[in-house]
């Protein structure tokens, strides 16, 4: 995680727009970012019922160009990138040479290059690592002049449809034709947009890459729609927690291996068989269920939230794990959390005890997502 105290905070392209809407700004990932507009609870529930617009321009947008880009990236991620069709997106993990998780990221095959979205707090380290690992015929460009907006919620699609966004070429699909984990290039008037049907809330929605100088025009046009309100980081966190989605730097970091992080789905079959990604030997030794610890969801028995840093304890009060994210679920109206527990205690329904500020709090291991995903998936034939 980056230390915000020692560096000068950067401003997002939409900084003044956020402030004009009454956002409360906080330091996050080296930026001043809007944590809330009207309030976390209201913004969260609005997004679950309507559509919320999130400014995620702090995240790193990176392009990899060169014929060998997919193969080269596969050396440090366990996803099957070379098999990714044009217009398809894959969630994968940036792995250190020992298999530790350096970041989680989205990789899109745009048809002409690879487009990566990485976490804001880790983007500079990620880029340095990628540059050190990639061969000279693969060129990395950091799209620092692009903003990234996420439109999320059950009404995201009907809202986006009102903007009259056209395909980059006649005959190509419009944004609302995309299914979950598909992406494409579009035009909004004369403004080019890269739109992905993806997100971090568990809802249907889109992530829109837009040249920074046009970001405010796009954000204002979206928020002028009756379905859409601006949403801050606070609700982004509570939404992703309900969706069971881990937050890098909290729910996993360089000391955690993918199986421990409960991210087996990111270890694609073909890549497991090839076993040639960074740290593969160590990572695959744990696959599928041989890790000592595992990230799980927790329901808290009672109303008091448990927070990151609280200890999971055994019957003698010895620490055996840790809570890595915790908060109050606005949708379920009760506290939920993610924690690392010994694998023997990771079964759904297992009762465990968490100690927080000297108080023992009883919890139950829960299936994730806590709130069902509402993705617009391609129908299975």
């Amino acid at each position: 995680m980056s230390d915000d105290k020692t560096e000068t905070l950067k401003k997002l392209p939409l900084d003044s727009w956020h402030r004009g809407l009454g956002a409360r700004m906080v330091p996050f990932a080296g930026y001043e970012m809007p944590v809330q507009f009207e309030g976390v609870m209201a913004e969260h529930l609005w997004t679950r019922d309507n559509a919320g617009l999130f400014d995620v321009s702090h995240m790193g947008q990176v392009q990899l160009d060169g014929e060998g880009a997919a193969d080269a990236l596969e050396a440090i991620v366990p996803g099957n990138i070379s098999a990714l069709g044009a217009g398809k997106i894959r969630y994968t993990l940036l792995l250190a040479q020992d298999g530790g998780i350096l970041d989680d990221l989205m990789v899109t095959n745009t048809g002409r290059n690879l487009y990566l979205v990485v976490n804001g707090a880790t983007k500079h380290d990620d880029i340095a690592y990628l540059n050190a690992q990639l061969p000279s015929d693969v060129t990395l460009s950091h799209m620092e002049d692009s903003a990234l907006l996420a439109l999320q919620g059950p009404k995201a699609s009907e809202a986006l449809a009102k903007l009259n966004i056209s395909p980059m070429q006649p005959g190509w699909p419009v944004p609302t034709d995309l299914y979950f984990m598909e992406a494409g290039p579009f035009m909004w008037g004369d403004i080019p947009l890269g739109i992905s049907r993806s997100g971090y809330t568990g809802e249907d929605g889109f992530e829109i890459s837009v040249p920074a100088e046009h970001a405010e025009k796009l954000a204002a046009a979206l928020c002028a729609l009756e379905e859409v309100k601006p949403i801050g980081l606070g609700a982004r966190d509570s939404l992703r927690l309900e969706a069971g989605l881990p937050l890098y730097g909290h729910d996993m970091d360089a000391h955690v291996l993918p199986v421990e992080a409960n991210l087996n789905f990111a270890l694609s079959k073909a890549r497991r068989e090839e076993g040639n990604f960074a740290g593969a030997e160590r990572v695959l030794a744990q696959y599928p269920d041989k890790a000592d610890k595992k990230r799980v969801g927790l329901f808290v028995n009672g109303r008091q939230p448990i927070r990151e840093g609280a200890s999971v304890v055994d019957t003698d009060g010895n620490g055996i794990g840790a809570v890595t994210s915790g908060g109050f679920s606005p949708t379920l109206q009760k506290p939920i959390a993610m924690a690392y527990v010994p694998t023997a205690l990771a079964e759904t329904g297992t009762e465990i005890t968490v100690e927080q500020r000297g108080k023992a709090i009883s919890c139950t291991v829960a299936d994730m997502p806590f709130v069902p995903h509402n993705y617009h998936r391609k129908p299975k034939l």
Partner: protein
């Protein structure tokens, strides 16, 4: 009855030897949606500055310190079922607990309403 304020954004209403303690409207506004309040046990002896309560918003937990020393004689049970009372009525129905004051001279160091308002305006 007199009302006092602390620089930790608590209010203290004093009536005779009894003080009622809560957090200010400014504090609840800063904390946002309050989802849980952990009040002290009745009978607890609090020294000024001790951790007295915890107030939890969707996002974070915040400590509430004992504004004054004393013995807890009553806690606001309504907060158990309706913690949002702290948002809707921070300085009345959303009170946290009552103590029997053990040292009334501690009140001399607290702010009155005018001083607290000036303090908040300066933040």
């Amino acid at each position: 009855m007199s009302r006092y304020y602390t620089d930790e954004h608590e209010w203290v209403d004093v009536e005779g030897e009894t003080a009622t303690v809560g957090i200010t409207d400014y504090a609840q506004e800063q904390l946002g949606d309050i989802v849980f309040v952990e009040t002290p046990e009745t009978g607890a002896e609090l020294a000024q500055g001790d951790d007295a309560a915890v107030v939890e918003s969707v996002k974070a937990a915040s400590d509430v310190y004992a504004a004054v020393s004393g013995t807890v004689v009553e806690v606001n049970d309504a907060l158990e079922d309706e913690p949002a009372l702290v948002n809707s009525s921070a300085e009345e129905d959303g009170w946290f607990f009552r103590v029997t004051l053990s040292d009334k001279s501690e009140l001399d160091d607290l702010m009155d309403e005018k001083a607290y308002k000036a303090f908040v305006d300066g933040l």
